[in-house]
Amino acid sequence: MADEHILFPFTRIVGQEKMKKALLLNIVDPGIGGVLIKGEKGTAKSTSVRSLVQVLPAVNVVKGCVFHCDPKHPKRMCVYCQEKMAKGEILESATVPMKVVELPLSATEDRVSGTLDLEHVLKTGEKKFEPGVLAQANGNLLYVDEVNLLDDHIVDLLLDSAAMGINYIEREGISFSHPAKFILVGTMNPEEGNLRPQLLDRFGLSVMVEGEKEIDTRMEVIRRRLAFDADPESYIKDCQSELDALHDKIVNARKNLASIKVDESLIHAVAVVSIRSGMEGHRADISMIRAAKANAALEGRDKVTIDDVRDTAGLVLAHRLKKGPFEEAVFKEEDLETWLMGV
């Protein structure tokens, strides 16, 4: 059925503003480091992530490259592209839409990291690398549903790539590496267990989503869903202008991001917040700055203010707060205000 491919429009998801914001910020600046979305089932986590595809910007890639290398950054290209460049070939570029690449829970190690190309070996006796999910994910958004249930050895693969932006394969006779920089988006239901700390720390932002408590909003959710199910195509058509507007907003924000300057007072504020909230490493500091900047860009401003930090710091800090294993560290807005006091 064609209907199955039509996703509920991103702009018509009721509420869940924080989650939407966290996702959009990452699309504006993938350097923020991804989003972890925590919440009970049925709170539109997956719907939101998947439907992002409707508003994702187009990106420039090297034409025909399986790793979608960015033509602007020759140093970060895959070996094939680098080899072509070395030979003096001119790499043609193409514009393709950014994708949401899903990593299924049942994925096996070889499919995720890539493996030896069977057919090629059998036919020619030569080894060739067969790219996996991480190759597809390069330059795109990598979505892992129920990320907390992912097997440990698959998580290990993600850790390496997330740390260096490069996927190293040293297995099955293959020694290969390729760029694997992606926006990591994970969703999880905390009732089913926690995330390994190593992976948790790699997420730039996190949000906790809850079902709407207001009767009116809940009714609105139902109404929209029914309308969509009745006739998805015309429903999408109806809100196409909204989707386009959001798409343009993202494209503009990405364009303007580079010209937005962060002034000293903000760096100071972020450093103070980090210390007061007990952050250990520097990932939080950097994500806070980047998120604030992306927030300003998204709102079409060319200056970052302390309010941008205020709006986004919670997303950065919540999952990084220290806690004991049987405790839940809860982030409160008031805490942020105390941390920001006097800066």
Partner: protein, 647 residues
């Protein structure tokens, strides 16, 4: 196939802010190839990886060979070269990572997450400088002159002490706390990410200076001597700090000589020795204490707080030793010693972590030095000295898990290890093609070439707590103790991410409050709001568990399950109205048999109450038996072998 390696752009060494000790240690590593390994520990996000990567390329003239977490043995040590075998009929070896690392650096990120066996073998090769490969038609030996750089998160902490000892140096990166420091780091990071090229250019002069220092030091190193006095200082230090073996002494001497060269001197000074002792002895001294405390844990309990103090005092002790030996300017030196790497690291050995956990437990009830029944059991099984850390692996029989090796196929429908199969077939291709008289364009694989994958996955366990919440517990005011026992037992399970379920029973209901999940937080909440009843339908509860677990186990054949029954055994509700509740509970218990599942009975009755109900129940269930009292801190002498365990 092209050399499939991407070389990442890296943050310049001289632009890394702070971390003077770690940087100095890295310079030593570059200057002196006799230093074989360095471990960088620190909290997540303190730029451990950035630092390690920054020395590749122009700075050291060497590259960094990255070992990914899921590396297989063939790739690491080398294996048959398929292409050569098939095309030219030559048996030759394909370069392994260790061979590529010859005259380069070998880099292991998150070293504690690797299989400890692999790490052990790698360190062995690095220390002996040669690799011997005997596998799949290949018999080869090559030199491997390399230096290992490894990082690990101090919160993860556990590394086999033997492996730890193989690292000459171990540097702790402290988290920066000053606002100014943090600001500067953010500033440099923004600058780098906005325009890496000009950022690198901006620091190129600084980098050149470092390179020059390195070249000079390398030249000078040949002439550096260390006086007998200084060697005596090193020996004394090692004796005083209780270093086992001589690796510590040797590392300290070598590193101090390198430091002298870096400082442009040919004579090792006391200051060099002091600094090098900080680099080389800290982790070895800890290690001994660690081992001790691990053993203690095995035997008695998790003496969290005491652990912490052992480490603390050990550290001051070491400070003092170093201090004693530095007569030049004791004030300043001791000041430095406390400022630098030497500060006790509460995060290592998980003490900080357990310490934090402790607070939580205290909040609920009195803290136990509880026996962790399961942890010590599994330790015993594996041998206490050879503790593989928190990750337990088991061979997996379905097709899930990590591919770790291959074997000749045994099954009809094998999980084919393609690479191994092709390698097995490769040497015979010429002959087979000749026999078949074909053009040799394809690979001929015969039945006996087939290899299947050996996979390994993390073994996990399920713990189902079955708690008697009848009135007798309340009357005796035992609930606090019970809660605390459960929570302290869970400490280990939480780390290992096993599944935990929770079921209670009283006359109102037999209640599965939490079916087995990985979420420990939930049980914490449940324990605070327990429904309390009056009577004890023991047989009913056991039957309910038996029904539930039988299905559960069927779905997870690899899972090791434990049912922990906490009760005083005084059943007073029976299923059959005419039966005696206690007798019935024993009868039911004797009949229960759930595959892969072990019962543990914790007797919550008070000792002075002369009742053997719970003990009899344990007998009937063929369960291990503990008294709640025995798990309490006040009677820490209890030891598993001595406890009244029933087969």
């Amino acid at each position: 196939m092209v050399d499939g390696r991407v070389r990442p752009v890296h943050f310049p060494f001289s632009a890394i802010y702070g971390m003077e000790d770690a940087k100095k240690a890295l310079l030593c590593l570059i200057v002196n190839p006799r230093i074989k390994g360095m471990l960088i520990k620190g909290a997540s996000g303190v730029a451990k990886t950035t630092l390690a990567r920054s020395i590749s390329g122009e700075l050291s003239g060497r590259t960094i060979v990255n070992v990914p977490l899921n590396v297989t043995d063939e790739q690491l040590f080398g294996c048959l070269d398929i292409e050569a075998a098939i095309k030219d009929g030559v048996i030759s070896m394909q370069e392994g990572l260790l061979e590529r690392a010859n005259d380069n650096f070998l880099y292991l990120d998150d070293v504690n997450l690797f299989d400890q066996r692999v790490i052990s073998e790698v360190m062995d090769c690095v220390l002996t400088r040669k690799v011997t490969v005997e596998r799949e038609n290949v018999s080869s030996m090559y030199t491997c002159n390399t230096t290992v750089i490894a990082t690990m998160n101090s919160a993860d902490s556990y590394l086999n002490p033997r492996v730890l000892d193989c690292f000459d140096m171990c540097i702790q990166i402290p988290a920066p706390n000053g606002v100014k420091d943090r600001e500067e780091i953010i500033r440099r990071n923004i600058e780098y990410s906005e325009d890496p090229d000009s950022f690198i250019k901006k620091y190129s002069l600084e980098e050149e200076k470092v390179v020059k220092n390195l070249i000079d030091a390398r030249k000078l190193l040949k002439d550096v001597t260390i006086s007998k006095d200084m060697i005596a200082v090193v020996s004394e230090l090692c004796v005083k700090t209780d270093i086992e073996g001589y690796r510590g002494d040797i590392s300290t001497v070598i590193v101090s000589m390198t430091l002298a060269a870096l400082n442009g001197r040919t004579e090792v000074s006391l200051e060099d020795v002091r600094q090098s002792a900080l680099f080389c002895l800290y982790h070895r001294q800890n290690m001994k204490l660690k081992e001790k405390s691990e053993k203690q844990k095995n035997k008695e309990a998790l003496e969290d707080q005491q652990d912490y103090t052992i480490m603390g005092s050990g550290q001051t002790h070491m400070n003092r030793c170093i201090h004693d030996n530095c007569k030049e300017d004791p004030e300043e030196l001791s000041q430095e010693a406390t400022d630098g790497v030497i500060e006790p690291d509460p995060d290592s050995v998980m003490t900080g972590y357990i310490y934090e956990v402790d607070d939580v437990i205290t909040k609920i009830g009195e803290t136990f030095k509880a026996i962790d029944v399961f942890e010590s059991e599994s330790r015993k099984a594996r041998g206490a000295a050879n503790d593989g850390g928190k990750r337990l692996f088991m061979k997996s029989n379905d097709r899930s898990g990590k591919y770790i090796g291959s074997r000749v196929t045994e099954s009809k429908n094998p999980d084919l290890a393609f690479d191994a199969t092709v390698r097995a077939a490769a040497p015979y291709q010429r002959r087979r093609h000749n026999e078949n008289d074909d053009d040799g364009d394809t690979i001929i694989i015969e039945n006996h070439d087939l290899r299947e994958k050996i996979r390994e996955k993390r073994s996990s366990s399920t713990f189902l707590f079955l708690l008697d919440t009848s009135g007798s517990l309340i009357i005796r005011n035992r609930m606090v103790a019970v809660k605390a026992t459960i929570l302290s037992m869970l400490k280990n399970n939480y780390v290992k991410r096993d599944r935990i379920g929770f079921m209670t029973f009283n006359e109102e209901s037999i209640n599965m409050l939490m079916p087995p999940t990985k979420s420990v937080d939930t049980i914490y909440k449940l324990l605070d709001n327990l429904p309390i009843g009056k009577r004890t339908p023991l047989s009913g509860a056991m039957l309910a568990v038996s029904n539930y677990m039988t299905t559960y186990v069927r779905k997870r054949p690899d899972e090791k399950c434990y049912v922990i029954l906490i009760t005083d055994g005084e059943a007073n509700v029976s299923i059959d109205e005419n039966a005696d509740p206690i007798e019935e509970s024993l009868r039911v218990a004797a009949k229960i048999s759930i595959p892969n599942t072990e019962w543990v009975v914790i007797d919550s009755g008070k000792r002075f109450v002369e009742s053997d109900d719970a003990l009899n129940l344990a007998h009937a269930l063929r369960a291990r038996y503990y008294r709640l009292e025995d798990l309490k801190a006040s009677e820490e002498s209890i030891n598993l072998e001595e406890s009244k365990s029933v087969i």
